[in-house]
Amino acid sequence: MNPYLPVLVTFAAAFAVIGMFLFFCHAFGPKQTSKIKSDPFECGNPPSGPAHDRFAVRFYIVAMLFLLFDIEVVFLYPWAILFRDLGGLGIAEMSFFLVLLVGGLAYVWWRGALEWE
């Protein structure tokens, strides 16, 4: 049997559970909307300013760094499985790769892109 079939069944079960919860949300419980309730929550103050302000570029840097290191991790997985068969040559190959990435991390660190997060 295809191993993905149980995965699909699990997904179906998850959707069923989520659907059940959302149904509970919707079905039970009163529905009384009022102006005050619908305002954005600001600990009692009247809502101030638009909902979307400008944001720090730090978050964009974090997302980019995450992406690049995620790709690095992806390359490490097949290597980790083949690690024993590749022996010394494999270690040399991956060391070069890792040194490159560590160098990149060091540069990013030195430039202060990881500060004040």
Binding site: A13, K31, S38, P40, V73, E117
Partner: protein
Amino acid sequence: MDVTGLLIVVGKVLFITFVVLNFGAIMTWAERKQAALIQDRIGPNRINIGGFKLLGLIQPIADGIKMIMKEDFIPAGAHKLYHTLAPAIAMFPALVGLAVIPFGPSFDAGGRHIDLQVANLDVGILFVLAVSSLGVYGIALAGWASNNKYSLLGTVRATAQMISYEIPMGLSIIGIVMTYGTLELNKIVDLQGEYFRLGGIGVLPKWGIFYQPLGFILLFTALIAETKRTPFDLPEGESELVAGYNVEYSGMKWGMFFLGEFASIVVVSALIATLYLGGWQVPYVHLTALPVLPRILLGLISFFGKVVVLCFLQLLIRWTLPRFRYDQLMDLGWKRLLPLAIVNVPITAVWLWVLGGFKLG
């Protein structure tokens, strides 16, 4: 169409869904009781059915009923579809994560070979990583859809936190993959049944934690940060952003975030138990040599015992440590865990070479 096979699969899926939801609910109770014990008070003790208090175990049911009965309102200007979709996506990884985890030894019954694992995927661990990557969207949508700038701020910080800790998470598992040479979780658990031998006598089971003590700490920390548990729960900063990205949620939708978080405690514990603590293996007991019933029972007790201990550990950590500030949190992720996780790879390579050349053994 292999009907019996399909029924067995459905049975296993129902079992793990049941486990996740119930453990999740019990965790909410356990958290409050444990917090109470640590803080030298009693915890929930008012709830009772006809005078039977049961230590407050009925509390989760009461909480559930309360959440269902609350009004589900969507603030004006919020995007209705995403407001509803966000808790669904956030809960999804917790419900699905256990699908690749072997919770018991395999056995033969009625001419079939039955594995106590829902799906034996070729890429075992990567499934869990992939699913938790998708869970980030639940948080991202939650804040964005709420039309509230505090929600949005909370969401962006929470998302940045989650993605920052996904890399040490992925990297720590590399050590385990190097040690056992496979991504399939059932093979990893099987291999943890062997022993380090001293003069022919098995001394220590080959559990992941003995091969990878650093990796264990790294993965545990990264997973606690990923599931946004204290000390990493700034996004839910109860004293700061009110509830951060889920401030505009009430009733069952908030309950879904909440239950999702507690269910993910269970999945985290199961993952760590499988990779580092031998899964369903019992040390010094050769389970596959036993007849079917004691084998299954011992395996299940062993696995769920480890899961419970790890859950207890996570709750203990929550109530002992103060919360990190956001910059401390990001520092820890990028400047400490990431370099340590990278360094873990050559250390593991050397360690494995010292232990026995490049043979698996």
